[in-house]
């Protein structure tokens, strides 16, 4: 039987959101000797709860936030009235996004942390900034994440990667046909493809079995525990007897005491009863959209504009997941629906290059993440009929013969792109709905289109018989699942929300650890960086607590 705490027990930490970062925080803090209550809005699903049911999971969004209960409103600019429309997607289950993600596991490059300095001048219309930390500060924690979770990859195979203190714990996953075609074509073009680092076990690891290549990674949870999500850390967290994972708990407010320090969290349980869990400190890991929303909901006399928001920075600089999607069909069967989504990647276009005439960069991967309904319904070229005998025959021929190239492209931080509270719309608990304001910087779209040309070159060189794009993926984005930048990390409290230790400038016993503290977007695939920040913050908290500084 695992430990349970009473709400009146003042535990050491409340962790809000047990996702990619929150799962790491809960486990690391409990292991370090702290008493932890981890509150998660979603249920606690286990391997036996995950299925291959495309209709329930991928089409009807079994694992993700439900916009009918928690609506979003969206507008492109602050002058517009926001309309009711889904804009923000995330996984709502213990383990969060790391449960259902593709499992691409990329470190940021050393230059990601000082792109403003490298570029040499400001990007007009954006707020491109250096991070207050360097790659070297984070490197030990990248390594820790890779070894704690179990990552498959080949160290040294990506010539653009930063230095690493240890190789990956597991060899790369076997290459698929998409990887072979991509690899050959990219090399012919003088590029440097490499085996994809994946949060999936290529071999048994620490009591977990290796992947059996079932092919249901993206959007699904792994029914055999071979995906290295933070859900896999829960047994170690619970085993400490100091950590209670409390699912179906929707936090609506972080409470602040007279001393200006946070002292717990008020949440709704499954029966919508309000419960106040007392704690000496709070770590918010609710994701780059829900974290700023929760801070804005946490108004108090000390913080009338929202918690940790004395300079009005909470919610600003929201960054989206830009990704241009190209598809190509080939002569022979690839059967790429089998095994992990991605087996080869290239980072040749990662660095921003002044010669392009705009700021941005991209990593490109070869993938197939189309389940049958999605492929037939939305994945076919748009220049053929979308129903009837000819379409049916084409779907039948294409499904096993197609691969995709996804260009994960940069998103510039723009001040007016933000998460805020909607003035009118409420969620099913009566709380103000999340309002997203977002319009891509023109350089984001230029980068998508630049990458599209590169994708076309690679597919053509690979011998694709027909190439097409998801046309919407090359336009300004209105929906995102990578949620970054809304509580930026920085040294200056006037321009950032947390310091370089993910600690709120305004509140010494409040930590924010998720995509919100990211200063730049990298080239998407932020999960490893988010988890590395969590390991680093947990380490810092442990040191600071020893000095009596929390």
């Amino acid at each position: 039987m695992s430990v349970t705490f009473r709400p009146s027990d003042t535990v050491d930490f409340v962790v809000v959101g047990v996702g990619a970062a929150g799962g790491v925080m809960a486990k690391e803090l409990a292991t370090a000797g702290f008493r932890v209550v981890a509150l998660e809005h979603g249920p606690w699903r286990h391997e036996k709860d995950f299925t291959h049911d495309e209709i329930a999971v991928a089409e009807r969004g079994q694992l993700v936030n439900d916009h009918s209960k928690q609506p979003n409103t969206f507008r492109k600019t602050p002058n517009e009235k926001a309309k009711l429309q889904p804009a923000i997607g995330y996984c709502q289950t213990v383990g969060g996004g790391s449960v259902h993600f593709t499992a691409n596991y990329w470190r940021f490059h050393p230059e990601d942390f000082h792109e403003r300095s490298t570029w040499g001048s400001a990007v007009p219309g954006a707020d491109l900034r250096d991070w207050p930390i360097t790659y070297d500060d984070l490197e030990p924690y990248y390594t820790k994440a890779e070894w704690d979770l179990g990552i498959s990859g080949l160290a040294g195979s990506n010539p653009f990667d930063g230095p690493r203190s240890k190789p990956y714990p597991l060899p790369p996953m076997p290459v698929k046909s998409s990887g072979v075609l991509f690899d050959r074509a990219a090399k012919k073009l003088g590029l440097h493809p490499f085996p994809a680092p994946m949060a999936v076990l290529s071999q048994p690891y620490r009591g977990r079995a290796a992947c059996v290549h079932c092919g249901f990674c993206e959007a699904f949870g792994c029914e055999m525990g071979a995906k290295s999500s933070s859900l896999m850390l829960m047994p170690a967290a619970v085993k400490t007897d100091r950590c209670e994972i409390r699912p179906s708990s929707y936090v609506r407010k972080i409470e602040v005491g007279k001393d200006g320090r946070v002292n717990g969290a008020i949440y709704f349980d499954q029966q919508k009863r309000e419960i106040f869990q007392r704690a000496k400190a709070v770590v918010v890991c609710a994701n780059g959209a829900e974290t700023p929303r929760l801070l804005l909901l946490s108004k108090s006399n000390a913080f009338p504009h929202g918690l940790a928001n004395s300079h009005g920075n909470v919610g600003k600089y929201l960054m989206f997941d830009n990704g241009g999607y190209a598809m190509g069909v080939f002569e022979h069967p690839l059967n790429d629906y089998k095994s992990v989504v991605v087996t080869r990647v290239l980072h040749d276009y990662y660095r921003a290059d002044p010669k392009r005439g705009f700021w941005g960069g991209s990593g490109i991967d070869a993938r197939f993440d189309w389940y049958p309904v999605a492929f037939a319904g939305r994945g076919m070229p748009t220049d053929i009929p979308q129903w009837g005998s000819e379409w049916k025959r084409t779907v039948g021929q294409y499904y096993t013969h197609t691969m995709g190239l996804l260009a994960h492209t940069s998103c510039l931080a723009v001040e007016q792109n933000s998460i805020s509270l909607d003035d009118e719309v409420k969620d099913a608990w009566g709380l103000p709905a999340m309002r997203a304001t977002f319009k891509n910087h023109p350089d984001d779209v230029r980068m998508l289109r630049f990458a599209a040309e590169r994708q076309k070159e690679i597919l053509t060189t690979a011998g694709a018989k027909k190439i097409w794009f998801d046309p919407g993926s090359l336009e300004e984005q209105t929906f995102s699942v990578h949620l970054m930048g809304t509580c930026r990390m920085g040294d200056d409290p006037a321009t950032s929300v947390v310091n370089k230790w993910n600690r709120a400038h305004d509140v010494p016993n409040l930590f924010l650890v998720d995509g919100s503290s990211l200063v730049t977007s990298g080239r998407q695939q932020p999960t490893e960086t988010i988890q590395a920040l969590a390991y680093r913050t947990a380490d810092y908290i442990q040191q600071a607590a020893k000095r009596g500084e929390i």
């Binding site: 495309e54 209709i55 089409e59 499904y399």
Partner: protein
Amino acid sequence: MTISRREWLLAAACWAEVLRAQSDQLTWFDSATAAEIKAIACQIIPDDETPGADRAGVIWFIDRALAGYDQDKRELYKRGLAEMQAKRAELFPRSSSIAALTKDQQIQLLRATEKTDFFQAVRYHTILGFFGHPKYGGNRGEVGWKLIGVEYSMQYQPPFGYYDAQAAKESPK
């Protein structure tokens, strides 16, 4: 390959669910409406040289969906079908139903209405019923997965496709 006890139990539970869903009993549509929706679905995914919406039992899937999880589409079906009937009467004044039209007339009618929300909803439902899990009443005999060449196994081993098999032959480890 051996099947574990757990896999066997899962499979047995699953089959019971599939059998229940695949009974030929309408739960939402009346039989006349079912015939009309089926006629539309069977032009979206025709039964031609390979099984289509008819053999897959797509109409049973749509019936279960409107009876169950997709109840908020009932109004769209009611209104949309009425509008499509009006279009049918306009195009083919002497016809009595969509199901009674010739194949070419049905295609003509659907081309004239393919931009409507109703057609798009039936198209999506037809695809769900053809390619989705059989436990929802469609994809009978897994004809949807057979059409696209999916084995639908719980596990696979490399090589997965032509090109990785070829690469493995060229540079064996």
